[in-house]
Amino acid sequence: MPELVLQLTRAGFLALLWLFVLVALRVVRSDLYAASGLRAILPGGGRTAMRAGRSRTARQLLVTHGPLAGSRISLDSRPILIGRADDSTLKLDDDYASTRHARIAQQGEEWYVEDLGSTNGTYLDRAKVTGPTRVPLGVPVRIGKTVIELRS
């Protein structure tokens, strides 16, 4: 075999070999978030919301369903009291809500929801809140017929 051809095929084969490696590594990369591995380890349900929530902090609270749908509350470091009582931060006009229903408070960077012994309970997504529970961005919190979300 001529020397030139030998050198060209030699380099060409090594290039192809590395191309295989690069394609394989691309699959590894695209798979980092896609498949189950990571999702199975993260606690909680909303995986897309949680990934977004890691980097951003909540700035406002939005009522998405119920009589007050559409109203917003800007968040600062003070806790939000939710209920039918007059001194609540978010005063609900909801027959299924208790007088002092729930509290959403900040701890560090994260917001936590806590049920204050309501009759009908507080739900984070579809799970009943029993103790202080972290509220990721965009995950619905249901109080009676009212649904609220944290937004950035």
Binding site: Q7, L14, L16, A24, D31, A40, P43
Partner: protein
């Protein structure tokens, strides 16, 4: 990795949040593409070898490539059928490694028949045909394991059976007469007729199954704290028994079978599984001190160990004698340099056992550092995918099993490549999938089938999906209690 099930359980208990979850990509498509890519690479490598060895380039080469692709497509179809969510990178990596190994074995066949023609002696029997037969048997076992083991957790029920069978397979060659079991000074074979098997390769997998199941059952025992020394919690002395047994077994293999590599491998696997199950560094330190003690004893008692160490320290002291093999391998790697001589253009056949223990230096001579690095990364991809399956799978037994299997492969690769490149003393083990050797190939195919089975369990969508769509969130059923007209009931 150690205490797996607990935190994961809560994650699956919650229903998925998206109303219509898009089907997860199974990766079967990319697997087929990569398999075809591997087939192109292997056919190209074969063509280069033939051209450089002045053989005639015929259409037969294409048929060989097509046959190779057909063989692995059959394996791919089996994966599609029985493990549809399995990792897409494991099978193509294995296919490429096995193909490159076959090409290199064929290339060394050509060299040895050349030399025989030059010396005027009979051409030695070609190794390629046997290795192709072993590959077919290996793939058949691969398909059989996938078809029979539908759920890896079933294996934990047969833990003690597997452990017992593994022990017998491991001990058998040491107890059989040398005429059956001894090849080149190491008693690790069972030979009948022209076929030889190394039962230790299969014992490896069986013992990993046993240890994974055993540690899942007895994990609390091993993480029970004993005394604290130097900020480290030592296990209680009576819990050391399994480690002592593994150590004794390793030394036994070393004494009765004179096989340094297998004994090192077994002890390493047990140690890593203990560490993975308990997350205690003290196990590693205790195990390593056992290892050092064993090494010192072996060095002082056994001549063959001492010879290995002396060759490692200075292969050129006795170049024409005991150091010839590793010396030639180092020269081969040096000749290859960065870019290699090109496939078929070097002289890798100068190294004794160039096709089995020393295939790494053969590849290094003809593909150079660039090619070796690519092959190492393919191995790395294979092992990380195995370990990733271990992280992602939801049951403890699967985690430990995948960890053990991946680590066994990683350690074997490290020990072989380290030995050939003179980083550590040489121990006779084969490189998974590349080296010539039937037992190793077939056993590793079974190992990879188990890894695929576990990765399938790790990546498959959860089956506990609600069958019917849930009502919108605001109307979801709660125990709604209507407030009485007085308005006092809701008050806490």
């Amino acid at each position: 990795m150690a205490a797996p099930g607990n935190s994961v359980g809560s994650a699956q208990a919650q229903a998925p949040d998206t109303p219509a979850p898009s089907p997860l990509p199974t990766g079967r498509g990319i697997e087929l593409v990569l398999l075809a890519f591997a087939a192109v690479l292997v056919t190209g490598a074969l063509a280069l070898v033939e051209a450089n060895q002045e053989q005639e380039l015929t259409r037969a080469l294409l048929y060989v490539g097509a046959a190779y692709l057909g063989l692995f497509t059959a394996a791919h179809l089996a994966v599609r059928r029985w493990a549809p969510y399995a990792d897409p990178l494991i099978l193509p990596s294995v296919a490429l490694l096995n193909g490159l190994g076959l090409v290199m074995i064929h290339r060394l066949d050509l060299a040895s028949s050349d030399r025989a023609a030059l010396l005027g002696s009979d051409a030695p029997s070609a190794l390629l045909g046997r290795q192709v037969a072993w590959t077919t048997i290996g793939l058949a076992l691969f398909v059989a394991v996938l078809a029979i083991v539908r759920d890896h957790r079933v294996l934990s029920r047969y833990a003690y059976t597997a452990g017992f069978a593994g022990l017998i397979l491991l001990a058998l060659p040491g107890l059989l007469p040398s005429s059956i079991s001894e090849v080149n000074g190491a008693k690790l074979w069972i030979r009948f007729g022209g076929v030889g098997l190394q039962p230790g390769e299969f014992a490896k997998i069986l013992l990993i199954v046993f240890f994974a199941a055993f540690l899942v059952q007895k994990r609390e025992l091993f993480s029970t704290a004993g005394r604290r020394v130097l900020g480290m919690e030592l296990p209680r002395a009576r819990d050391l028994a399994p480690l002592l047994v593994a150590w004794g077994l390793s030394v036994g293999v070393l004494v009765f079978e004179r096989d340094l590599g297998t004994s090192l491998l077994f002890f390493g696997i047990v140690l890593v599984l203990l560490y993975a199950a308990t997350e205690r560094v003290s196990w590693l330190i205790i195990g390593l001190s056992f290892f050092v003690a064993g090494s010192v004893i072996a060095y002082n008692l056994f001549n063959h160990v001492r010879v290995r160490v002396q060759i490692w320290l200075d292969p050129f002291a006795d170049f024409s004698g005991s150091g010839y093999q590793i010396g030639q391998a180092l020269f081969g790697l040096g000749t290859g340099g960065v870019g290699g001589t090109g496939l078929g253009a070097g002289r890798p056949d100068l190294v004794p056992y160039a096709e089995s223990d020393f295939i790494w230096s053969s590849l290094g001579e003809e593909l150079g550092l660039i090619g070796l690095a690519a092959i190492l990364i393919v191995y790395l991809v294979l092992i990380t995918r195995g370990l990733r399956s271990a992280l992602a799978v939801r049951d403890s037994f699967g985690k430990l099993l995948a960890t053990g299997l991946s680590f066994a492969m990683a350690m074997q690769i490290f020990v072989v490549i380290g030995g050939v490149t003179k980083l550590i003393p040489l121990t006779g083990l084969t490189l998974p999938f590349l080296s010539y050797g039937g037992s190793s190939l077939v056993a590793n195919y079974a190992l990879v089938a188990l890894l695929l089975r576990i990765s399938n369990a790790a990546r498959a969508p959860l089956t506990r999906r609600p069958a019917h769509p849930q009502p919108p969130l605001a109307e979801a059923s709660t125990e709604l209690v209507q407030r009485p007209a007085s308005g006092q009931a809701g008050r806490p």
